[in-house]
Symmetry: C2
Subunit: 226 residues, 2 copies
């Protein structure tokens, strides 16, 4: 098999900062599948056109194009069932983690939006600002205003996550599962694309995040932090 | 085996409204275990003293006393492994549901606190008001003020849950698991102890809740609504 992944990169090609691509990177590593990652920028729409999607991650598995991180996870589980399960046998129970991670992307964005602008590729700067300001209806500068006063509220909202990894090393239990890879995405996004410390410096979630960065030979740690 | 469950009841003995006891009721039904439920009131501390706990649920399984809904779930899974699994094999993945349900109990309480007072047993009224007002540091009347203007925000916060059951019938997938029983608790609590419609009248979460009420011959539906 030959696997290629279109992976969002910054102006520094080594900076891979998509919260969705990270789900897929770790899922592939969990399955023990080697993959060639292709640096992709927001404006490289044509490169992934065969997938029918305009966003990454896009996986090319031999001749098959698969878009969307959740669809890719299901594809990997079905096509490589003999390799370690991403879902511990329960895709149903795992869906909530995808949903919670999507929510975290949304709630994290107002904190890091302006920082992201400083790491995207030069050719993406105008596109990123315009498209994101259309979504949120205000300048990115307004979005991040007084973020330091709001960060405590954000951290408090993480209580249900914190309570889990206070009692077990990973959301999957003793070992990480796709549940962990999904939740890792937004925190890795913030680590790579923002100077804001989204998590407390100590505590159960910080401990979990550091363990996640160590997985698979430090795969997550090797991409440059902000 | 003989199983007995101390189950929070209101002034109407048939009204069983603890969000934690409902986790256990449905877990026992999932395992196909018959149980005698013993109506219990907040002030009946002595009745459950052998458990070492002052709160319900408390399960008595033959001569063993077990307190705390999550501890009870793990006990049932270990003691009755030949019966349908509550966790689909992954206790690790299930923990988040317990944690999310605990969070829902906390965020729901300010909406229904005063209504609960009207359904508790006469002998519990003073205890309930005093203990809860000490927790929250204000009169229950203040807590529920302008709740109708806050309910939309609460419903919006349920988006990650809604997204899951928009795509599958239960949080467990095609069939309900402990994940569903944990999340059912706070909504059933509100149904039995408050006149406030916590959920939208239509939509994926409402559909899920109605399916939950139908389970096991309508076990959840048989307790009186507010």
């Amino acid at each position: 098999m030959t696997l290629s992944l279109y992976d969002l990169a910054g102006n520094d090609e080594r900076r891979r900062f998509s919260p969705y691509c990270w789900r897929t990177r770790l899922a592939l590593a969990h399955k023990g599948l080697a993959v060639e990652t292709i640096p992709w920028r927001f404006t490289d729409k044509e490169a992934i056109a065969p997938s029918g999607q305009t966003k990454v991650p896009v996986l090319v598995d031999d001749d098959e194009w698969i878009a969307d991180s959740w669809t890719i996870a299901i594809h990997l589980e079905r096509k490589y069932p003999e390799r370690p399960s991403l879902f511990a046998g329960s895709q149903g129970l795992t869906k909530i983690y995808n949903s919670l991670a999507d929510g975290l992307v949304a709630s994290t964005f107002p904190f890091i939006a302006l920082d992201i602008l400083s790491v995207v590729h030069d050719k993406d700067v105008d596109y990123f600002r315009k498209s994101r300001e259309e979504w949120v209806g205000k300048p990115l500068e307004d979005l991040v205003a007084d973020r330091s006063s709001r960060i405590q509220g954000f951290r408090a909202s993480l209580a249900p996550l914190r309570a889990v990894v206070a009692h077990q090393p990973f959301f999957g239990g003793d070992k990480p599962l796709y549940a962990d890879y999904a939740l890792f995405g937004p925190f890795q996004w913030a680590r790579c694309a923002s100077g804001l410390a989204l998590l407390d410096e100590v505590g159960p979630l910080r401990g979990w995040f550091e363990r996640m960065l160590d997985l698979f030979g430090g795969l997550g740690r090797h991409t440059p932090a902000y």
